[in-house]
């Protein structure tokens, strides 16, 4: 399975060894989708690819190491009651998370495919997207 998580860590927790451990100890394929790190700590969006048991263990390990881990799914949303299904967001979406097409030509959103590039936020002419990192 693939699970996407937002990892927030304070300045004293180094990110690199963490990822090394994830790969080595828990046999997880890690893709860094987004990294935002400075002297005060940072935020990573990770894609964890492994079986569910290893993923659960690795998440526990990260939490034990003092970093905050929360699932990504809840972070990206759009107001579908106001959506006009124009398709402008699908044009910019590089991951296929947003799509539109036959038969009904209504916007479809598959959050699990999202790579948090934020292009939809700027591309929706009705400004319907919200991406939040806070739980």
């Amino acid at each position: 399975m693939i699970k996407k998580v937002v990892v927030t860590f304070p300045a004293d927790t180094a990110s690199q060894p963490l990822i090394y451990e994830l790969i080595k100890k828990y046999d997880i394929k890690v893709s860094i989708i987004k990294a935002d790190i400075d002297a005060n700590g940072g935020k990573l969006v990770l894609e964890l690819d492994s079986d569910s048991e290893h993923i659960a263990q690795s998440v526990q390990f990260m939490k034990d190491s003092g970093v905050d881990v929360s699932p990504l799914e809840k972070k990206i949303s759009y107001d579908d009651t106001r959506c006009i299904s124009c398709g402008a967001c699908t044009s910019a979406c590089p991951s296929g998370a947003l799509s539109i097409g036959a038969p009904d030509w209504k916007l479809k959103f598959q959050p699990d495919r999202c790579v948090v590039c934020k292009l939809c936020i700027v591309s929706c002419p009705l400004k319907l997207f919200r991406i939040e990192f806070a739980e």
């Binding site: 006009i84 299904s85 124009c86 402008a88 539109i100 030509w105 591309s123 002419p125 009705l126």
Partner: protein, 379 residues
């Protein structure tokens, strides 16, 4: 066989008119001849729901006591035209306040249609007959006199497909165009689009009654930039941006389900406007025209990354499939106008006609012929 407007209207009044959407009739045409379609179908409904900057609204606020000759006017902080009579204005869809560029004229129009109150502030120099110099008040569609939606240009006959061969992302009125041709966007409703079903405007002219944002509106003129000189493909369809319509309707009868203020990143405010146009099948030629399918409608590919050069062509079946091949690459396509909404509009217009609530009007003046476009020279 031919039919007259009067014959078709009689059928509509009797609740016996056979009405199809342009998509339905295009599907029928796979197995039926134009002659058979003419004998079976009376009216075909077409529609589009796309962004059109050339939109706005005429408002008349009514006079205050003492009266003011409004020379500078703001609605919700957005400057609008003070260039009409004392208490008239034209709210242009793209009007905006540079301090807050994401909210503009189109949003004010939508707010009014939604029944919201809008703050009006106006200034005048004060005259003997209009002594007041300033007023600040709230208005809504209930408090003002006329509120008329007006599109100097809408329902483009066809529109170029936008892509970007440059190496930077472009933010345009055709949406976000990713570098190196990673995407392409198109804005026409294809086989459902009004002016692609009656490409020579045989039935669409001044006075044609239409669906406009939920209301019954009218075609009031040829749209601006009305261009008859675009090349035709082998099916007689003009390629690229050709004819347009000027439209008007009563705002109080409209619903924001079919009209929306919008903002394109780094471009500005615009307005999504829903339009439905009925086409009476008067003869075989029209039955043949409305049978057109996406695969038979071509448009040019325009490179927004390099001086809007035309670099190829593609048809709507390819565009709708989600990708097309160009210069040896697969290019991801996405619409900019809502087919979902356009279908709703074509369906509602069909229902109105079937229920006898909407009769057809013959144009009182045809659209111009032989027009072309002028550019603008610098001195």
């Amino acid at each position: 066989m031919t039919k007259s407007y009067e014959e078709i209207n009689e059928k509509i009044r009797a609740g016996k008119a056979v009405v199809m959407t342009a998509e339905q009739v295009s599907e029928m045409a796979r197995t039926m001849s134009a002659k058979e379609i003419l004998s079976k179908v009376d009216v075909v409904t077409t529609a589009t729901f796309g962004a059109m900057c050339s939109s706005g609204a005429f408002l008349n606020f009514g006079h205050a006591n003492p009266p003011i000759r409004m020379e500078r006017i703001e609605l919700n902080g957005v400057p609008v035209s003070g260039g009409l009579a004392a208490v008239d204005t034209f709210v242009g869809a793209t009007d905006c306040n540079v301090q807050n560029p994401t909210y503009g004229g189109a949003h004010i129009i939508q707010d009014l249609i939604d029944g919201k109150e809008v703050t009006l502030e106006a200034w005048g120099k004060g005259t003997d007959c209009y002594p007041r110099k300033h007023i600040r008040t709230h208005i809504s569609l209930d408090t003002i006199n006329e509120a008329i939606l007006m599109n100097p240009r809408n329902a483009y006959q066809n529109y170029n497909v936008a892509l970007n061969t440059s190496d930077r992302t472009l933010y345009t009125y055709m949406g976000t165009l990713l570098p190196h041709m990673k995407n392409a966007s198109y804005s026409s409703a294809g086989e459902l689009s009004p002016l692609l079903n009656d490409p020579e405007c045989r039935t669409i002219g001044l006075g044609t009654k239409i669906f406009l944002c939920g209301a019954q509106g009218y075609v009031v003129w040829n749209g601006t930039q009305f261009n008859c000189s675009k090349p035709l493909n082998e099916n007689g369809v003009p390629m690229g941006n050709a004819r347009t319509l000027a439209l008007m309707g009563e705002m109080r009868e409209m619903s924001s389900e079919f009209i929306r203020g919008a903002y394109f990143e780094k471009y500005g405010v615009t307005m999504y406007v829903g339009v439905g146009v009925p086409i009476p099948l008067l003869d075989e030629d029209l039955a043949h025209r409305v049978s057109i399918r996406n695969s038979q409608i071509d448009t040019f590919i325009e490179d927004y990354g390099h001086e809007c050069e035309l670099i190829g062509q593609v048809n709507y079946e390819q565009l709708r499939s989600g990708e097309f091949e160009f210069r040896g690459r697969k290019i991801h396509t996405a619409p900019l106008s809502s087919l979902y909404k356009a279908r709703r509009i074509a369906g509602i217009l069909k229902q109105w006609i079937e229920q006898g609530r909407f009769e057809l009007t013959a144009p009182v003046r045809p659209m111009p012929a032989g027009t072309s476009l002028k550019g603008l020279k610098e001195i």
